[in-house]
Subunit: 150 residues, 4 copies
């Protein structure tokens, strides 16, 4: 129904280059685990230094991975010469962020020339049943790159 055909044949390399420049992802130990047109999964290991007062990963750390997953999912579909920025997002925290690690799966719900809407689900990883930790709904803007430099 909705087209998931990348307009930029170099979509994979541009996503990986941009991700490598996101120092916040390196700081969190996050990595791209899956990349396809309209879809990016990012892993986030559990780490005490990003926890809140009860020893769960802070909502802001979980949101960081989900926001980047949605942003790069949108970026796979954006035309050459454009960048993608989050305009806003909403996240529901569904279960305590415990366990060895997390996977944030970002998907494009509706690609657009100016605005793209994405949804991410964040699951626990490791042995045992995975749990749905969070869901995020994001609006992103697609902008010509010179615009960003101004």
């Amino acid at each position: 129904m909705v087209e998931r055909i990348p307009q930029d044949p170099g979509y994979e390399s541009k996503v990986r280059e941009s991700f490598a420049r996101q120092q916040h992802m390196a700081t969190l130990g996050a990595a791209i685990e899956y990349l396809a047109p309209g879809a990016v999964d990012i892993s986030l290991p559990f780490a005490d230094r990003f926890c809140q007062q009860n020893g769960f990963m802070h909502a802001g750390a979980i949101a960081s991975a989900a926001d980047s997953a949605n942003g790069y999912a949108a970026y796979t579909l954006s035309p050459p010469g454009t960048d993608v920025l989050a305009v806003e997002f909403k996240i529901n925290l569904l279960a305590p962020a415990q366990g060895p690690g997390f996977l944030a799966c970002g998907r494009v719900l509706r690609p657009g020339r100016t605005l793209t809407v994405c949804q991410a689900e964040v699951f626990t990883t490791g042995p045992g049943e995975r749990a749905l930790v969070a869901v995020m709904l994001s609006t992103l803007i697609v902008r010509p790159i010179p615009h960003l430099k101004s």
Copy 2:
């Protein structure tokens, strides 16, 4: 109109103790700058290691400070023996997160026995006019502390 009378006379010490246990805040270099019934301001210094691909602070880092500001604003009004957890939040990113630092100002909009709603504004700090970088609307749940341990 809305009461901002703390139910816990030890509200200040409980907030500071809980904040001290949020390792994520220490990792970000965040600090409580203001604390009153229904209001908490948290400072967040700019740091390259929490930036996104354009050299602005990552939305997840800004969201971390705003989420904690709202959470602790709610916590100042929660009864003794309770803790506060974010259920969900929505953040609008209004301007690039540049500059020497940021201040996330969390305020209680409506305190409740079970649910509290807060709003945070995040401003740039430093010389020159401050800019409104982000606004967050959060729903938080007030729960008996034993519940959290189960």
Copy 3:
């Protein structure tokens, strides 16, 4: 993974009775088209009197159907003697709300004793390919019915 077993064997009749008491649904001409544990679909016919300035259905009319679909999806799973109220919702409007009618499909993402999180998708109906018009993410509170009367 997540249980979708109704705790109230009379879930279907309680949903239909409550829906019949929602005068707003009758005013909009909305009807329940599908009802199962954790899932409710509500149809909404197009009508000029609920339109905005460009002749599309007003976002508030679309949101009304999606909010009720999520609320009743949550209500199918709530225990006997409880009611369900929306705490908050966020809706993304993905395409102009044109066409002969709409179907709002509400689904429970995570049922809970106190809070339930639901997601609704709103599609166009009628001849031709259906279009995704809106997506809504909602938080709902499950409360004992006497509480509502106080």
Copy 4:
């Protein structure tokens, strides 16, 4: 800090003309009570036919007034030849929507060339203390009018 200077000298008449074309507002009995650059207040009378199962106004009816208040607040600041559409909104329902009527007060938080962010508060009206019933945070897109016709 943020400029609230209308770019269109005819901002008031264009808002009132557009509002008059929103049949949904007439159906709800809503009216513009206040209009200034970056600010629009809309009244909404209580009516049984827009209520939910407990006799409170349906969240979708409250959201309709708040969405239009935010949309028209944004429209007061948009340049000549443009229209404004809601991209998304999030609403927190803070108290039961009871009473003789409501006032939805929409305000521009950040005007922009492409995107404008607004916030609305909805209060009860009538005798006695007003209550804050809901708060809405909205993202709106400013588009050339021919674009809307395509």
